[in-house]
């Protein structure tokens, strides 16, 4: 599958999957994001790095609007996905979340079988106006699990509970769960931080493999991971974007002294 074509009116910049402009966000009285401008290239992996509390998770969670659930969040500015403003009140959140899949720090498979986990999205969204039949379901499950490199491991245990798998398998399953509804953008919030080194490597490998088919925005605390597993890198500090460049040059040659200090581990 290819990157969702920007079949969108008013997409000024076709290569930008996400275009954030002057985004400000307040939790009550606390301003967590200050005039954030960000352009995320379609089909690429972009990592968000920065010390704890710098707003990277907040930024991520603004994009599929799950921050709003907190109730005391206010935003101004715009977030455009393929040219369409997701902060517009007319946006149907269910459709937004179908297009924008999210992976969490702690793997959160549902307490259902592996099979039902993968099929969950199709049962919620009914892409063909009905739940997939048996044959379609089998195909969907196989495709999704193949894509996340789990098929060979799990093809004989599709009835096992997702919650019984190893953490690495759980996290891959959580990614597989997003794919059947054909999202264009995957948001990942420190997807490897609950995993052991081997699991981290396997999931990073998977993320790298998904590049091109999906636009991926990944928050990470792990410098090495940002370096290994992303093409572009965004450094945030205290709610502002300090630097955004391709990963290799940011790590070799950071343009700002704060970025350099963070990358070298002088704070974090």
């Amino acid at each position: 599958m290819s990157v969702a074509e920007p079949a969108t009116p008013g997409a000024a910049d076709a290569s930008a999957a996400i275009l954030v402009e002057k985004l400000n966000l307040w939790y009550g009285d606390f301003q967590a994001l200050l005039d954030v401008d960000l352009r995320v290239r379609a089909g690429a992996i972009t990592s968000l790095i920065g010390p704890s509390g710098c707003g990277k998770t907040t930024l991520l969670r603004s994009i599929n609007r799950i921050n709003e659930r907190l109730g005391y969040v206010r935003t101004s500015g715009s977030i455009r996905l393929w040219g369409l403003d997701v902060l517009d009140p007319s946006v149907e959140l269910a459709q937004l979340r179908k297009q924008v899949g999210m992976v969490f720090q702690r793997p959160n498979p549902l307490p259902l079988s592996v099979r039902d986990n993968v099929l969950f999205g199709t049962r919620v969204h009914l892409p063909d106006g009905r739940p997939p039949n048996r044959a379609e379901s089998d195909r969907i499950v196989e495709e999704a699990l193949r894509e996340v490199l789990l098929w060979d491991e799990l093809k004989d245990s599709l009835d096992r509970r997702g919650t019984e798998l190893s953490l690495e398998q759980q996290q891959k399953l959580c990614i597989a769960r997003l794919l059947p509804v054909k999202p264009s953008l995957l948001l990942m919030d420190e997807p490897c931080s609950a995993l052991d080194p081997a699991g981290t490597e396997a999931v990073e490998e998977l993320i790298w493999k998904l590049r091109g088919d999906y636009t991926i925005l990944i928050v990470t605390h792990n410098m090495a991971q940002a370096r290994r597993a992303s093409e572009e890198c965004v450094f945030m500090l205290l709610g502002e974007i300090i630097e955004h460049s391709d990963t290799a040059s940011m790590f070799l040659n950071p343009a700002h002294s704060q970025t350099a200090a963070y990358i070298e581990g002088r704070y974090g």
């Binding site: 599929n64 799950i66 979340r97 959160n108 498979p109 549902l110 307490p111 969950f120 919650t163």
Partner: protein
């Protein structure tokens, strides 16, 4: 270096003392239950027979069986359940899954807890005024069961809400972030995982309802009716009221009869509690996360 000091020895003594105290209190708790059961079995046991359970009372309730009371209690409990469980579960779902955490929600929660503390005789008078007189159900199974339902509603709501809240928030978030609505989340994830707790709450409610006397006295239960109820608008006998009546109101009841009635009643309650525990163990064993 490692010998006990005077301080260590005194600590150990105090430790032992408290341990003994708490153990003693626990025994005090078990003792009355054991005594009640023992006395009931010893004195009521001889009264129990096929005939006692399944025939009509005779000779002004000084002989014969307790069938109408037994059947009446089942009627009362079943109708009360039908009335209270859907309302209670729905209310708990709203409070746990939909309601914003604001002052109104907290006030409702407080009201529910207070409702659970209202004495049953007050519920009885409420039932008399509301169901018997205002809604003109008369003294009937319907009025009595609705009174019981109102009284036990808080128990159902609290038990349901608690078991809903044992389902980790992460599951709900996973669903919401896939674009599932609250109801889809409830139906596919929350309810299937909370059902064991809800069933437990319901069964506890049953056991509590079956022993209540005051709420049904004015609203639907009668001391003596020599036939079985045919519908919800009939009056009925009930185990708890029957026990009260033959213990205090009727002369010359053979001594083993009230004990027999009490034994049957408490056996019903214990059987239902046992069922509830078995259910819980079974359903817990199946869920893993």
């Amino acid at each position: 270096m490692f010998e006990a000091t005077a301080q260590n020895r005194s600590n150990r003594k105090v430790e032992g003392l408290f341990r003994l105290l708490f153990l003693w209190m626990t025994c005090m708790l078990i003792l009355p239950v054991a005594l009640i059961l023992g006395v009931l079995v010893y004195r009521g046991g001889p009264a129990i027979s096929w005939e006692f359970l399944f025939t009509q009372p005779l000779d002004n309730m000084t002989a014969g069986g307790i069938l109408p009371a037994l059947v009446g209690t089942v009627w009362l409990v079943v109708v009360a359940l039908i009335a209270s469980v859907p309302v209670g579960v729905a209310a708990a779902l709203y409070l746990s899954e939909y309601a914003p955490d604001n002052r109104l929600t907290r006030a409702i929660n407080l009201a529910i807890i207070n409702l659970a503390g209202v004495p049953s005789i007050v519920h009885a008078l409420f039932g008399l005024g509301a169901f018997v007189i205002f809604f003109r159900f008369g003294t009937s199974i319907l009025a009595a069961s609705l009174t019981l339902a109102v009284m036990t509603l808080p128990v159902v709501i609290v038990a349901t809400r608690e078991s809903l809240q044992t389902v980790p928030l992460a599951f709900r978030e996973a669903c919401w972030n896939m674009g599932a609505t609250r109801w889809q989340t409830i139906r596919k994830i929350v309810l299937p995982n909370a059902i064991s707790g809800i069933l437990t709450g319901v069964i506890l409610e049953v056991s509590r309802t079956s022993g209540e006397t005051a709420p049904i006295m004015f609203t639907g239960a009668a001391a003596f009716i020599p036939f079985l109820p045919q519908g919800v608008l009939d009056q009925t006998m009930a185990m708890s009221l029957h026990l009260f009546v033959i213990s205090t109101q009727v002369p010359d009841v053979p001594e083993h009869m009230p004990f027999g009635v009490a034994l049957v009643l408490i056996s019903m309650v214990l059987a239902m509690n046992g069922l509830s525990i078995a259910f819980r163990v079974y359903l817990r064993g199946r869920k893993k996360w």
